[in-house]
Assembly symmetry: C2
């Protein structure tokens, strides 16, 4: 009943949904959000550090990338439960993009990571402003599935060096595996013990702890929080172990000194090196943007549906763009709406995006207070949390399901999966996108074109191969069952040429266009070529049942002037007119 706000205010609220829900924020919502934020913070401390390790960035940047981006998303996001921050696949892609450019761990690496986040943010923001969300459609499901599975394997393989304490090189299996073989004898005992112990502990927690606690009569919520807190426990226990036994002196790699305090607020240095990195990073930034957007939107849509809400893909693009810009400005690296953190946030009862703000505050406190304690945290512990987390990414069942459902999709899946493992994330993803497009063009390059005839006694026309119908020897009636565009236009040329060459009696070709929703410039050119070629062969081309919008557009070209025949409203009308015309010697025939 209330008046709508004026347009400018509505436009502002479309860009900043917080203007919508912010004024309606209540104390009850706030307490729900704070509880969720506490649970998420507990989970994010180890996860942020681990994903920074995976991205090849210093550990504190993982915390940075989980603070300001959450604030930016709270202002602009349209999903009430999404939590943005570093995620497994985008962190792997970050490592792959930066790897060839800079030696891991140097200051140049951090600057390049921030630069990548800024580029990705600018791209996402631009896509959102220009409503280019459809670009994510390029990533078909088989390609994404193969890519994510392969990423899971690559991530696990990349952590072997931290779990085994050997200096493995490379980012693809053909690089990592020989390196593993080479260092086969050099495993570092304490590292392996801590790594394997943590993996086993986390695996047991994931499989059994919640059930055990519930069986002991613990409430579901507390059981859930304790399960979520297990990685923190592993962190604390292994840190204590490393510190008390002085394992660092025995060669155990630990996180080392971590600068505490607030994230730096600064642009990465735009010197000559920074500018020269823009080119090589551009394709990586685009792919990270698309993959991050797809992950974020599918998590967001799933969670929104549970509350019968919806998210706005263009708003999500803009919000993710702002989040990545925030990550880039505060010493972070590319972020996205992560699956696990968003689900935990939702399950813990987050009601609005204010939960993200509280989470950011929690992480800030952690960054201020806990960083000295991180010094003795073994890298093997972080690697173990990554490995346990990413194994769920590998979906081997998808191979069988896709094989049964569609062979070309299966080919795209296998191609993406194997090329990602063998040649890296960028090559795998690009090849998969290329293959999807190829298969799509191939499928649509042969539109269904039926030769039709009259159902006796009616004005209906049906496929001559399926029905008993009447045809005229001098008229070829073709029903085109698809829109005509560049990928199938030449097929129509070939088809008409073959039919006319095979039936020398034909004097008229009538294309029944009832199912043609569009004709692009290439198809128009083909129609013109068909007209002229038929004219050279002494055959006239006619059209029937053209849809209104298609006809409007044809009238903007000079095709209708070139057309040797006529345009008929109904196919029956065409056949009647042409049959009479071409059989004048036998006017008495039925």
């Amino acid at each position: 009943m209330s008046h709508d706000p004026p347009p400018r205010q509505r436009a502002l609220a479309a860009w900043f949904p917080i203007l919508d829900w912010g004024p309606r924020y209540t104390r009850a919502l706030a307490s729900a959000d704070m509880v969720a934020a506490a649970v998420v913070t507990l989970m994010l401390i180890p996860q942020s550090l681990a994903y920074a390790l995976l991205a090849g960035m210093p550990p504190e940047t993982g915390l940075y990338a989980s603070m300001l981006p959450l604030l930016a998303y709270a202002l602009m996001g349209s999903s009430s439960a999404l939590a943005v921050g570093p995620a497994a696949v985008t962190s792997l892609m970050t490592a792959a993009a930066l790897g060839p450019l800079v030696a891991a761990g140097t200051v140049g690496h951090v600057a390049a990571g921030s630069l990548l986040a800024l580029m990705s943010g600018a791209m996402l923001l631009a896509m959102g402003a220009l409503r280019l969300g459809f670009l994510a459609s390029f990533l078909s499901h088989p390609v994404l599935s193969g890519f994510v599975s392969a990423s899971g394997v690559l991530i696990a393989a990349s952590q072997l060096k931290h779990l085994l304490g050997v200096p493995l090189q490379g980012q693809t299996l053909p690089e990592i595996l020989p390196s593993l073989w080479q260092h086969g004898a050099g495993w570092h005992g304490p590292t392996v013990a801590i790594g394997a112990g943590t993996v086993l502990f986390l695996w047991w927690v994931r499989r059994s702890l919640k059930g055990l606690l519930r069986a002991q009569g613990v409430s579901p919520f507390v059981a859930d929080v304790l399960t979520k807190a297990a990685p923190v426990l592993a962190l604390a226990a292994t840190t204590l172990l490393a510190w008390s036994l002085s394992l660092e002196a025995q060669g155990l790699k630990v996180v080392g000194p971590v600068p505490g305090g607030l994230p730096p607020l600064a642009l990465p240095p735009f010197d000559a090196a920074g500018l020269s990195a823009l080119g090589p990073l551009a394709s990586a930034a685009l792919l990270i943007s698309l993959v991050g957007f797809v992950e974020s939107v599918s998590v967001g849509q799933s969670l929104a549906a549970k509350r019968r809400e919806r998210i706005e893909p263009d708003a999500e693009l803009r919000a993710l763009g702002a989040s990545n810009l925030a990550a880039g400005f505060s010493g972070g690296f590319p972020v996205t709406g992560g699956f696990s953190r968003s689900v935990v946030n939702f399950d813990a009862g987050a009601r609005t995006l204010a939960a993200g703000v509280f989470t950011a505050i929690g992480l800030l406190v952690a960054a201020l207070l806990l960083t000295p304690a991180l010094h003795h945290l073994p890298q093997a512990t972080l690697a173990a949390t990554i490995v346990v987390a990413v194994l769920s990414l590998v979906d081997l069942g998808a191979f069988g399901r896709t094989w049964r459902y569609a062979r070309d999709d299966f080919a795209a899946l296998v191609l993406t999966f194997s090329l990602t493992l063998l040649m890296g994330v960028e090559a795998g993803l690009m090849a998969g996108v290329g293959a999807s497009l190829l298969f799509h063009l191939w499928r649509t390059s042969r539109p269904h074109i039926a030769t039709v005839g009259q159902v006796p006694g009616t004005a209906h026309y049906r496929n001559v191969l399926r029905h008993e119908v009447i045809t005229q020897p001098t008229i070829l009636s073709l029903r085109v069952d698809e829109s005509l565009y560049f990928a199938n236009a030449r097929f129509l040329e070939d088809h008409v040429a073959a039919q006319v060459a095979a039936h020398p009696a034909i004097e008229h070709v009538v294309l029944q266009c009832a199912a043609v929703n569009a004709i692009d410039s290439s198809a128009l050119e083909s129609l013109e070529a068909i007209t002229h070629r038929l004219a050279d062969a002494g055959v006239m081309l006619h059209l029937s049942e053209i849809k209104g919008p298609v006809m409007d557009r044809l009238q903007r070209s000079d095709f209708l002037q070139q057309l040797t025949g006529r345009v008929f409203l109904s196919h029956h009308e065409a056949v009647q007119a042409l049959a009479v015309q071409t059989a004048p010697a036998n006017p008495g025939a039925p």
Copy 2:
């Protein structure tokens, strides 16, 4: 009435159409073919030399590329009038591909040209064997049109150095134009005189000579032959001029010593340099193959239609592949079915591909006898024949026509045209292909989805926006008007989510799938996501009117087990069943 040949023989005849027409060859056909061959030979001598110059190859390689390829095409081609050899656009693409690799004129350049022909031949042959002709569909009409127009401009610009006698550098306008400016004062008088004189003469011949001769009572055929022979006359006259005035001593660039005799029959040297060139040449070879195939097929189809014949695209791919292999083995460079030579061949009365064999013999005689005479041929004359020939490639009218017809096609045209001029043939073509695909995905990413309701008193359902129909508050009926695939699957997810969020009373969503011809893996995943999200919102998903093949495929997945609702044969049945089910409290209502 005769028996069909056994399958093996039929398969052989599909690969070698000469087995079909060869045995039926007669003396009458032979004399027609010989006359045509004589006219074409006359025309090809200057054209072959000129295109070799354009490709940056020695002049004799132009003759080589017009001999063996014609024999190969005669064995395998399916068009009776097509004449293969060097063509303008593919020669420009050859020059662009080889330019960065080798300095023009060295032996390495010749070897690289042959290597490019071999690679292109192998690709075409493979595409023909695998029936991948649809790949040419990637080159939409606006992209080809923009590309060919820009190529015409680039070719003319590239010949300025020969016409003006200044050493211009580069292969794109931003490279050539500043170079032209720099040498603005250094034009070479005799070169400019010969170049401009030849251009004006050829232009006059093209515009007026035939009409003049006909007005003098010369027979059409003789007038035509004389017009075609004019470039030969220009060659002879300027060669004589250069020789008699010793213009070479004054700085006029002439062709110089040309090795006479048969083309060399050898593979290009496959040393380390040759092997390392394979990678960089691969994308150029693919683009040359596709562009050459498209030019060849459209010329072939146009000429075949005039005789009510047809050509077989897969046979054309194989024949062009064999022709390019022949060019590569005999010291030539990439060839295709050229427009001008094929039209001349057809107009001069060629009846079969034997005309190509006779043309090859004619060129062989020319190579044996005429090469000494070519020494003093000015390069400016050849450049003039190129410039006059390629200006017809520039189709400025296409810009206006495409603008009026379709704005997105116009954008692709302008993008291809300008990037080809500014960044070169390969970048322009690739950007155009990318843009076409993007626009296509964008257009199809938003399928038409109508909310439908019952036409009162019938079992028909129509769009609620266009018709007075009855809807049920608890049932959302959506008619999907397109096949579902990766580019539009997410749109369906968004659309359903938005509708359900907007109408809280909805308990059932029914998708009417009568127009859905296919559902790929990505769309299946979206349907599964929709099912689960609707279930989370307390809404059931049903399907109606699924086509047989689509249903068969769905049964190979476990989607139908996941489906919360039912599959109905007709939409009316669905609405009746669900309306009763959801309104049990009011069973007496109509």
